[in-house]
Amino acid sequence: MEMLLMALCLSMFGLAVTAMAFGAATRPAKSASPVQPEARPAKAVAPTRFFGDHVTPPRTSGSNVPTEVLLAQIEDHVRLEQAAAQSFLESPSHAQLHTKTTSAFVN
C-alpha cells in the first residue's frame, strides 16, 4: 500500500513537472522592456525572373497626356537632342556625346 502511494505521488509530481515545462515552452514570450526591438526591413531580395517580368509597365505619364502635349514633348526632345549633338560636334568627346538629357519624353 505504501509502495502504491509512493508511486502515485511520484507520478503526480512527474506530471506536474511535465505540465509546467510544457506551459513554459508554449507561453508567448513577453518582453521585459516596453521598448520594442527595432524593426529591420527585410533584406531586399532580387526579384525572381519570370516571363511576366518582361512586360513593360504601363507608362501612365505617356498614355495619359493629350496628344498635343505628347507632340510638344517630342518636339522639345528633338531640340534638346540637336543641341546636345551640336555641343558634341563643337567639342567631340565620349562624355559630350553621352550627356544625360532632361527631356520629359524619355525621362
Binding site: I74, E81, Q86, L89, L97, V106
Partner: protein
Amino acid sequence: MAPEQPELLKGLAADDAQRILAIGTRISLRSGASLFQLGDPAERLFLVDRGLIRLTLPMQVRGRREEVVVEERSAGQTVGWSALIPPHKFTLAATAPLETEVIALPREDLRRHFAAHPTVGYQITLNLAVVIGHRLQLFQAMWLREMQRTVEKHSA
C-alpha cells in the same frame, strides 16, 4: 538678304553672289504655308531670306500621322539641297510657321551658271557640302544617343 552672307554664298565675291541671287525668284509664304512636301520632285534650292522654315518628317503617333519637326532653318540658311543631289526628291516636308520669304534657285539655271562659271560652282558646291555634312554629323550624333539609351534600357 540677311545682313550676313547666306551660307550657300560664303566665299563668293559680292558680284558673283549677286549674279546667283539674280537667278532666283522671291517667294512669300504666309504663316502655315507649305514650301514642299515629302517626296515632291526637288527642282529648286531655297535660301531663307526672312522668317523661318520648319523641316518635318511624318511619325505615327497614337495611330495618327503627325508631322514632327526635325530641323528649323532661319534667315541666311539653305533649304532643299535635294535639288542639287540625285535623285532630286525632297526627303522632308517644309512649312513656314510664320510669314517667311525665300529665294528659289532653279536647279537647271544653277547648272548652266556653274558650267559657265566653274569657280562659282565649286565654291557653292563646297558650301553645300558643309550644309549636308553638318546635317549628317548632327543626325549621326543624335542617332548614337538614341541607340545608347536603347542599349541602357535593354541592359537595365
